[in-house]
């Protein structure tokens, strides 16, 4: 994919011209978070390599969303730590990442103004707006109130907003959960394009086939623990953990 096709990622070229230390690899050790007396994230060790797309799978309540928040630096872990290329979590590190939440929170403004806000706040080129909206298929809805969009349109706008920050790491929490098949393909294409450009992707999904299509490696989470972390082919060919086998077979995992 040429740069001309994705003009709004020009910011990355600018960043490369004034070299910043790379953000990856990421190392998480002993991450723990308690909620209501239960360790909902329980002594998690996790490594993210320089490139590619990591899928996080696991049953409802496994702790996937909370793990993303910890890795992104939205809340401090009660125990353990995350380091990015050796540097501890910080505002600067978080600023180079974006997280698309499971339930998008959109400003009480038009679709276009939601993007304008982020582009302005983060001192990005305001001209990126049109390309971003086109990229998520909302080009004709720029003037609509964002909160009147359909569920799937809201999720696509949230993705566009995340891309607007020009992140080095992009966390996606079930980004295609309420999308129609066409929109799912659109999101998956964007994920692939971003991965090709060197954005590090971490995607939580319940769509096993999607994990197979997109991910280079799979993390299987269960009751706040990483049960298995393996290359995608290995994981799906022969999941080592029984909980993972049950999960893939569609059996309820308790």
């Amino acid at each position: 994919m040429s740069d001309a096709a994705l003009p709004f990622l020009g910011g990355r070229a600018g960043a490369a011209a004034s070299p910043r230390a790379p953000l990856l690899p990421m190392r998480a050790r002993g991450l723990t978070l308690r909620r209501g007396g239960v360790a909902v994230v329980d002594r998690i060790d996790l490594d993210l390599g320089l490139r590619g797309c990591t899928a996080i799978l696991g049953p409802n309540g496994a702790g996937k969303s909370l793990l993303l928040r910890l890795l992104h630096g939205l809340e401090p872990p009660e125990a353990g730590a995350v380091t990015w290329n050796g540097a501890p979590a910080s505002r600067e590190v978080t600023a180079r990442q974006a997280l698309v939440f499971q339930t998008p929170v959109l400003l009480r403004r038009s679709v276009g103004a939601n993007l304008d806000f982020v582009l302005r706040a983060r001192r990005r080129d305001r001209g990126l707006r049109a390309a971003l909206l086109d990229r998520v298929g909302l080009g004709d809805k720029a003037d609509r109130p964002a909160r009147l969009l359909s569920g799937g349109e809201k999720q696509r706008l949230a993705l566009a907003r995340a891309l607007a920050t020009g992140p080095d790491v992009l966390f996606l929490d079930e980004p295609t959960a309420s999308l129609d098949p066409g929109s799912v393909l659109m999101i998956e294409r964007i994920v692939r394009e971003e991965a090709e450009r060197g954005t590090r992707l971490v995607i939580v999904t319940h769509d096993v086939a999607q994990a197979r299509r997109l991910a280079d490696d799979v993390v299987f989470l269960h009751r706040g623990r990483v049960i298995e972390h393996a290359p995608t082919d290995t994981f799906f060919a022969a999941p080592a953990a029984e909980a993972a086998r049950d999960f893939l077979a569609g059996r309820i995992v308790l």
Partner: protein, 242 residues
Amino acid sequence: MREATESLQDIAEALRLAVSLVLSGDADLVEIVVLSLRVSLTATAVACAIGLPLGALVAVARFPGRGTALVVMNALMGLPPVVVGLIVYLHLSRAGPLGFLGLLYTPTAMIVAQTILIAPIVAALSRQVLEDLHDEYAAQFRSLCLTRAQVVGALLWDGRYALMTVALAGFGRAVAEVGAVMIVGGNIDHLTRVMTTAIALETSKGALPMALALGIVLMALALGVNAAVHGLRASAVRHAYV
């Protein structure tokens, strides 16, 4: 004080005269209404300039003593107008610390009193509005690594409809109060006479048509404010901005 011996016919006649005063745009009536609006709108503007940033600060900031600040802010919402009038009077009277300003019995004194009366209302109500909004946006804003100023700016803008309602509530309270403006304004003809103090005076003089005429305008204003609040809400709901 005249005895209240008006018959039903007298009252009906007074009402007829009152309506014709309003419709003919009687000069005295207009002067009083204009001064009322000038005083209360100015007080509302100043109260918003103080109360909105204060409300926003308490909504997003966590500092020691915040709980106390909340209690004080909420308690001050119920300040009795006469007490505010008395306190402002004591400061502005010749013997008071600010007596040298010569502000007592001027519209400025009335603006000061009404500002003190409604600034806590604006602050406390906007704090509530903005804190609810902040609860919803906080994680997203943290993810975007916004500065404190960017957060407050976004909250004020996204809460604009609710905040306009807050301002209207403040204006409604200011324009309808009588105790504070009476004490610090003195109800001087052509100088500090506003609708509420004029109604009190004209009624006690038995000048019912003028009192009723002013009452009609005040009621219309109250209705107008409520209609505006309603309209704002409806338009905000239409755009899913609430």
